[in-house]
Symmetry: C2
Subunit: 294 residues, 2 copies
């Protein structure tokens, strides 16, 4: 086809990719082409604007490294990540809801004792004592694998340190629930923090007058054969950013009660000399056979 | 807003960017967000597929360097570049049409004599003698600046050589039209060639069973105060890829007659010992005051 114009070109591009062997790739690519073309027509995009877009994508790619994923941040801040999570994890009302995975999980974090461990591993912050249980509609879930990770009091994850190694993992660890589905540990109170804003996503946030803040939260990934894997956050109730999370990830059902206590005896029986916090939380898994039908 | 689902999240993202100071940026970004979200919903994109997309974009960014622009290639092969060109350059029937600029133009190419120059500068190929004129509806356009660039007989532009410098420019140059709007030069016959396919665009072409070929062509950029600048190609009539150009750039009005001749006397008066080709071509500029009204 010659002499394609801005209206006829879309059908020709779609015709050209008709022989794509993988039907799902064909479906995704055809949809992407239609929306990309519609976007350019709708905005009557100019060549200069299109070149600005090319340069933005190029700089975004150049920011990406083994420890930085700027396209994930971009997807997160455009609401795309949470949209994809939401449409793939509709759950019954009683099951704990899924939210964005984020870029800071690490496979292979240290396995910690089910009760009595200190997740903070020496990192400073306001003491927090977590007592949690994992249940299903049929009762406690024993021996579930619970992966926990959180930022420090300045809002940084350990992996953001340039010379980090897994041997120095802090504020992350793996627990196995006991026979009653329980686990508990000591940590520090999570704080709200900005997503990295020294890259192209930071440029976009500036240009759109958006703040980069996420409300304080802890990440949990819980797996047990026979249950739909759960990736979620527990957010700190009362946080000022709960309604303006920069990555749109807040679920009302995932807000936890972090209760402040004056210095005294902690749930572990130890005496704490400073104010401390407690969190009691129940995670409800969704049995996989039900998950398959939902 | 908490508890956004895959349907409510779009309105919330759009609400958040309402304070964007630049109205055009706001318009473009809002359209991009709507189409990005619609794409994800329409395909019911999964988290694994979304991660494949993130990785594809990241690899595309990592391919980009000072001499390689993989996002431009991607835009070209998805038909987006030609769509943007088309919608920004509607021209009256008599004016030469615009097509894609491509990634291989270089500013500052050597200025050559209006007649009698050899663009090939020693590069091997079948001899070509070009006689061209630049006109407008009002007659010849004298002293127009004509920038010409083309690939060699193997399909490579000089800038694709790793140690290229402007001093060694070949198959590119700048002419100034004479009082009759004419210029002429010797070169070599352009050949069809593949766009670079060793990157992510190559992956996409493979996966969709598309060929990377462009029909043989020469690039022209023609500028003269008072006229709409023209960026176009002259394609070789009869080329087997004219109807399947990998970047969708062919305009019927931009196909030229490259006429083959047996060895003998060339248009320049010189005797050529091998078969040679001639191209006679007329470029029609669009006066700028008309352009502003079109």
């Amino acid at each position: 086809m010659r002499d394609l114009n801005e209206f006829t070109i879309t059908a020709e591009v779609l015709r050209r990719i008709e022989n794509t062997p993988d039907p799902r790739l064909h479906e995704i690519l055809a949809s992407a082409i239609r929306h990309l073309h519609d976007f350019a027509r709708e905005t009557k995009l100019t060549e200069a604007e299109w070149m600005e877009g090319i340069k933005f994508l190029t700089r975004t790619g150049h920011m990406c490294s083994d420890v930085r994923q700027e396209f994930v941040l971009l997807s997160d801040t455009l609401g795309l990540s949470m949209l994809v999570v939401a449409q793939n994890h509709s759950r019954p009302a009683e099951a704990t809801e899924q939210t964005v995975f984020g870029p800071f999980h690490v496979e292979g974090a240290p396995v910690l004792a089910t009760h009595g461990s200190n997740l903070a591993r020496g990192v400073e912050g306001e003491p927090l004592f977590v007592r949690a249980e994992v249940v299903s509609p049929d009762g406690p879930v024993a021996d579930a694998v619970v992966d926990v990770w959180q930022a420090d009091a300045e809002g940084f994850y350990d992996v953001q340190s340039p010379d980090w190694s897994l041997d120095e993992a802090a504020l992350r660890g793996v627990f196995h629930t006991d026979a009653a589905g329980r686990f508990s540990f000591r940590s520090i109170l999570p704080k709200s923090y900005p997503i990295p804003s020294d890259g192209t996503v930071g440029e976009m946030l500036d240009a759109t007058r958006l703040h980069p803040m996420r409300p304080a939260h802890m990440h949990y990934r819980i797996a047990k054969p026979g249950f739909d894997p759960l990736i979620t956050h527990v957010f700190v109730d009362g946080d000022e950013y709960l309604d303006s999370d920069s990555v749109f990830g807040v679920r009302g059902s995932c807000v936890g009660q972090f209760v402040r206590h004056e210095p005294g005896v902690a749930p572990t029986g130890e005496t704490v000399e400073v104010p401390f916090h407690t969190l009691d939380y129940r995670f409800v898994l969704h049995p996989r056979d039900q998950a398959a039908n939902s």
